[in-house]
């Protein structure tokens, strides 16, 4: 439920933003077209090629000025350049890379400096439990005397693993289902899309919990459950992207040139519909991390003593009044990471959208 609300908010925001962006891009395009038509009008009564070239030079200059870039660029490098200008997206990307690096290298340095995330030293438990943040324990310690920073770092491993793998599963399933529905149409479209509707009609979190109850707990079951249940929204997005791309004249143009179905799909339909999936999948990672946290909070996700941000919040909630860092630290970790994926997804959408430049 939460996840859906979250998605809806995001969508609304994104739409507003896109509208603004489109207006801006339209202005730029207007300028450019004007410049171009000036050139063309001049080309018309153009006898000597000298003159000709001059005006082409002028046109190039205008275009280059508008683009701030050289003549030959690929759309992907173009997109990257646009992404780089989006500060929020870069902050998101940097944060994700930072969290990922820390999580990946955790085994190399965390046990030596912060201790084990799971082991409990029962002899010293009383003196180590629930210590406030200090130099030795930057995030404090929990009720069993374990370092909270250490557990947050290992929790990041789990969150990122679940987020990435669950999204990978939903994306692959969603792409296959969406493509089948869009290409074959007719009865296939009806079957797949009604199936998706049925999936979407179930309360998402409850559905995942039921699935976990059947599969049993454990990290791999968590990402399988989240991944398998996540395909309908990706399938819908991809299907509608393909359908709208399919209607374009350039697909007809390729067909009229005699291009094979495989070529039309690979060269024309896929490159023009994949951008929406990249964006959606990025945001989906954040959603999957949230779902995993919710499950662990409810005790359905990762089994203790393995650290998960959700179960850490669950453990810490009883100390909220006295030792708030127990709950705040993993909470901040969830918020920043999910937000980072959302910001990056937003930035990617703007950067990958060619229509923005077409206006």
């Amino acid at each position: 439920m939460e996840k859906k609300q979250h998605e809806r908010d995001l969508e609304r925001e994104a739409q507003e933003e896109l509208r603004e962006e489109t207006d801006r891009a339209y202005d730029v395009h207007e300028e450019r077209v004007q410049a171009a038509s000036e050139v063309e009008t001049d080309q018309q009564d153009d006898a000597e090629p000298e003159h000709h070239r001059d005006f082409r030079g002028a046109y190039n200059a205008v275009v280059d000025e508008v683009d701030h870039e050289g003549a030959s660029r690929t759309l992907w490098s173009d997109a990257f350049a646009r992404l780089r200008k989006n500060k929020l997206a870069i902050i998101g990307a940097v944060w994700i890379i930072f969290v990922a690096l820390v999580a990946i290298t955790a085994d190399l340095w965390v046990p030596q400096t912060l201790g084990s995330p799971t082991a409990i030293d029962s002899s010293q438990m009383a003196s180590l439990a629930r210590l406030p943040p200090s130099l030795e324990h930057p995030f404090g310690t929990d009720a069993l005397g374990r370092d909270v920073l250490c557990r947050v770092i290992y929790g990041a491993q789990i969150s990122l693993t679940v987020g990435l793998l669950a999204t990978a599963i939903s994306t692959v399933l969603g792409l296959i289902m969406g493509a089948l529905a869009a290409f074959y149409g007719g009865i296939w479209d009806t079957i797949i899309m009604r199936l998706a509707d049925i999936f979407l009609a179930f309360p998402y979190t409850l559905f995942v919990i039921v699935m976990l109850a059947v599969l049993g707990q454990g990290i791999q079951n968590v990402f399988i459950a989240i991944g398998v249940l996540g395909w309908p929204s990706i399938a819908r997005v991809f299907r509608s992207a393909i359908l709208s791309v399919k209607e374009n004249d350039y697909v007809d143009a390729a067909r009229s040139m005699g291009a094979s179905d495989a070529r039309i799909i690979m060269r024309h339909i896929f490159p023009n519909s994949v951008a929406s999936i990249v964006v959606y999948a990025t945001m989906n990672i954040g959603g999957a991390i949230l779902t995993e946290s919710a499950l662990s909070f409810l005790g359905m996700g990762v089994t203790p003593p393995n650290p998960s941000w959700g179960s850490m919040i669950q453990d810490g909630q009883q100390y909220l009044a006295t030792q708030p860092w127990l709950m705040l630290m993993p909470g901040i970790a969830i918020i920043t990471t999910v937000l980072a994926f959302t910001l990056l997804g937003d930035g990617l959408r703007d950067a990958l959208d060619v229509k923005m430049k077409d206006a």
Binding site: V33, E40, Q43, V63, D252, S256, R267
Partner: protein, 340 residues
């Protein structure tokens, strides 16, 4: 044009009906839109055949049926001696080497994720010509130069060009294989008037150079007049009148053509004010439920009883001038802007 030759394209009784989806409960009772109904014409090598009509009259559908972008429901499309309408996929590919299409919307017809070079060389790649990339790109640069684009822009993307320039890219792509026939589906209607003339001139020059035949689809009689050797007028899926352009523009026989031509503004206010004009009432009827008999009888100023009962056949009213009307008679257009 020499009409004694074998036609390059022979369209015979071409029919295209689209089923209308009228809901879950319509079942087998579903209605049909007859977009193209019993259309026949020939196009000869190297000539330009203009196909004019209001929007929705089926002219684009005719073009798409010839190209097999949609399956015709009936009739034959014989291109270069082979029937395109019933062809297998493999044979079709060979035909598409010689038959190309220029689209109306220069913004939608170019893949935004491909460079101009990739777009123009795509037909070459598809048909396995010039496997050497260097050679192919040199060739593409040459074509770009021919259509009036800067060959150095070969690595640019469509969004970096204006509408007129994009349409030139579309033309370059259509000409890459030196086809025998190009179907131009309103190639200039999306462009500014000043750029329309440039693109039409370019098409004319290319035709002179390569001897390509055009099927030129348009809703604008003055555009067709500039470029066509012969013109066919279409109304609600039927051909009304076919003729060489001089006699059609000077002395149309069909009341519909007469109405269309008298609606073309004449850039001389005196003539424009004083001339006799035929003004049609109402909108064209829906193609879902077309009128019986002659499809034009509901709006025709000279309709009689027979027009609603029998469909008039195409008949020769003057040498090379065919008209589908029982009461066809010449109607000289006053102050026609054409110098004869």
């Amino acid at each position: 044009m020499a009409t004694s030759q074998e036609p390059l394209l022979h369209v015979e009784h071409l029919t295209k009906e689209f089923p209308v989806d009228s809901g879950v409960f319509a079942g087998r009772m579903a209605k049909k839109v007859s977009a193209v109904d019993d259309v026949s014409f020939d196009i000869f090598p190297g000539e330009t055949f203009g196909l004019v009509g209001e929007s929705g009259c089926g002219k684009s559908t005719t073009g798409r049926c010839i190209m097999r972008l949609t399956h015709p429901t009936g009739g034959r499309v014989v291109f270069d001696g082979k029937d395109v309408a019933t062809m297998k996929k493999k044979e079709l590919k060979a035909v598409r080497h010689d038959l190309q299409y220029i689209f109306q919307d220069p913004y939608a017809s170019l893949n935004p994720r491909m460079t101009i070079g990739e777009i123009v060389s795509e037909p070459l790649v598809i048909h396995g010509e010039m496997s050497n990339t260097e050679e192919r790109m040199d060739y593409v640069r040459k074509i770009l130069d021919i259509v009036g684009l800067n060959p150095e822009h070969i690595n640019r993307y469509p969004h970096e060009f204006s509408g007129g320039q994009r349409q030139r890219v579309g033309i370059a792509r259509a000409f890459a294989l030196h086809p025998k026939l190009i179907i131009c589906d309103e190639p200039v209607s999306a462009l500014d008037v000043s750029i329309q003339a440039q693109v039409l001139n370019l098409l004319g020059e290319l035709q002179k150079e390569y001897g390509t035949a055009y099927l030129f689809i348009a809703h604008d009689l003055s555009v067709v007049q500039h470029i066509s050797d012969r013109v066919a007028v279409m109304y609600l899926g039927n051909l009304m009148e076919t003729s060489d352009w001089r006699s059609l523009y000077a002395e149309p026989y069909h009341p519909y053509t007469q109405a269309l031509l008298s609606a073309v503004p004449i850039p001389d206010p005196d003539v424009q004010r004083s001339r006799e004009r035929i003004i049609l009432a109402g909108d064209p009827p829906s193609p879902i439920d077309p009128p019986s008999g002659c499809r034009f009888h509901t709006r025709c100023p000279i309709a009689q009883e027979i027009c609603s009962q029998k469909r008039p056949e195409m008949r020769e009213v003057a040498p090379g001038h065919h008209c589908a009307c029982f009461f066809a008679k010449p109607f000289p257009i006053q102050g026609s802007s054409i110098e004869l």
